[in-house]
Amino acid sequence: MNTSQRPNSFRTGPDETGHFGIFGGRYVAETLMPLILDLEKAYNAAKADPSFQAELDDFLEHYVGRPSPLYFAERLTAYWGGPKIWFKRDELNHTGAHKINNCMGQILLARRMGKTRIIAETGAGQHGVATATVAARFGLPCVVYMGEDDIKRQMPNVFRMRLLGAEVVPVTSGSKTLKDAMNEALRDWVANVENTFYIIGTVAGPHPYPAMVRDFQSVIGREARAQMLKAEGRLPDAAVACIGGGSNAMGLFYPFLDDASVALYGVEAAGLGIATGKHAASLAGGRPGVLHGNRTYLLQDDDGQIIEAHSISAGLDYPGIGPEHAWLHDMKRVKYVSATDQEALDAFQLCARQEGILPALEPSHALAFTGKLAATMRKDQTILMNLCGRGDKDIFAIAEHLGTKL
């Protein structure tokens, strides 16, 4: 694979060393290398074992509640007056977001590998809640690292994790957000390599995580593709998803990557605006570098120091992006755009009033862009948007922005 050359298929990555073009790889301390090689081997074995997929499918159906519905957003369609808007309702999953698709896959793998302790990092808390949930379900102790600032923004999720029996460890180092939580989880892992399985929540980190998380999240796109064919008799003209690390987007896009007629849009968080520097848009405002085990686009200063991201949404507040997105960006297969904090807040309120759905602040970014995209498309076209999480966790943050005291 080479970034300057357009491949026959966009679905063949990563190569055997874990690279998507120049992106990805395994930039970890030597202590972790043998573990990551073991994990890769165990994952490949699980993937080839029909009983693993059968077990996962069973839990996805009966515990997570899959398939999630495909829903025609009739009033938003009429409101924008353009193409038909379809929502993939991954916010209806158990725990309220797409994160559990991946956690279920990884915890089954952890059990297969005989690991007895689970760790995770979390930003908004959705991945932490999903990890705490599956850890409780399988009776494994669970430690979740969360930035101190994020803990303040997402108290309801912190309480949920504790109710589920997880230990939530506040991270006070660095910028006290998701990237520091990931550093701290990696430090824990280095110190507890024998018994611990690290459930990474997004399509980033050292190989095989980006590919493995993508595979577990691809259930979103596989279902949505079949559901769209059934509902409309054809594929959507466009698919839209928000991007922090990019797991819900990768899960939605992957099954459509070789469908040339489907335009794919990843929506980064523009925070207060790209020009202000206060944003979380790694592709729009970053450049390639190495962090958290992979080479990808990063927000960094001229000296290669990582810059804090900013977004109203804690789940998008990350200075990097999954390496496969970096590659798809350079290959121009996916178009990466952005939405600001304010645009996301407006879209949140619009969705609440028009559809009776409180979306999470993360997919509110996708929805904000969907409105803009709709204005450029015809009525006989369709847009598929991944509504990847519900907004219950965000009501306190939103109340604050709207000047309401709860």
Binding site: A29, T31, L37, S173, A191, G289, L298, Q305
Partner: protein, 274 residues
Amino acid sequence: MSRIATRFAELKQQNRAGFIAFISAGDPDYETSLEIFRGLPAAGADIIELGMPFTDPMAEGPAIQASSLRALKAGQTMKRTLQMVREFRKQDSRTPVVLMGYYNPIHSYGVDRFATDAASAGVDGLIIVDLPPEEDAELRHPAARAGLDLIRLATPTTDARRLPTVIEGATGFLYYVSIMGVTGTKTIAPEEVAASLARIRAATDLPVAVGFGIKTEADAAKVARIADAAVVGSALVAEISRFSAPDGKNVAGAVKAVLDLSARLAGAAHNARL
């Protein structure tokens, strides 16, 4: 012969272990850090590891994390780190200097330019924590062309199956990470380290330095009996933090404290085999 090879040859001839001191470049500020750096050879350091500060040092414990952030806050950059080495070389042409850190600041600086600039500044080797053998070719080759050793790390998880991968292409010396964990946290278990070193020595003639869990003179002495050098970092930079209170720094105090501790640890390492 390189400065690193020369130094290990001298140590071997004297039948004593070396002492390797780690400080972060620019901690707590450029001038103080340079003064400590310059004082280390007289305080017993046989080799100096100079940390290149990074915002996200994922293999470091609290002491070196804090040290790295203090340096960045005081305005340390890669250019200034290389400048520090140039200043150091004005008075010391014999003590090997190894830059230690993470890949992104080098990636950002430009790998080829970095290798050339580091070598011309007087750097002898590089230890890049998040660049395992599988990923280090893009730095190893430019470094080799510039005459820099890229020092590989082996750890308790580097088993017999993996050890050849680590040793293949390693130069300078091998850095054995004595604990499973981040810097400055757990304490080394000398028997386990000895067993690992025996395995490593059977596979390579490179000198082996041991670091990550050495805090006290007693630890340094134990390691010095079995390794070619003992590395101390967290304990030294913790001395700087003691004198860098937010309400005012005691620069002279910090310099003296670090150099005194260095001299004590070096003494313990140097005399362990007597």
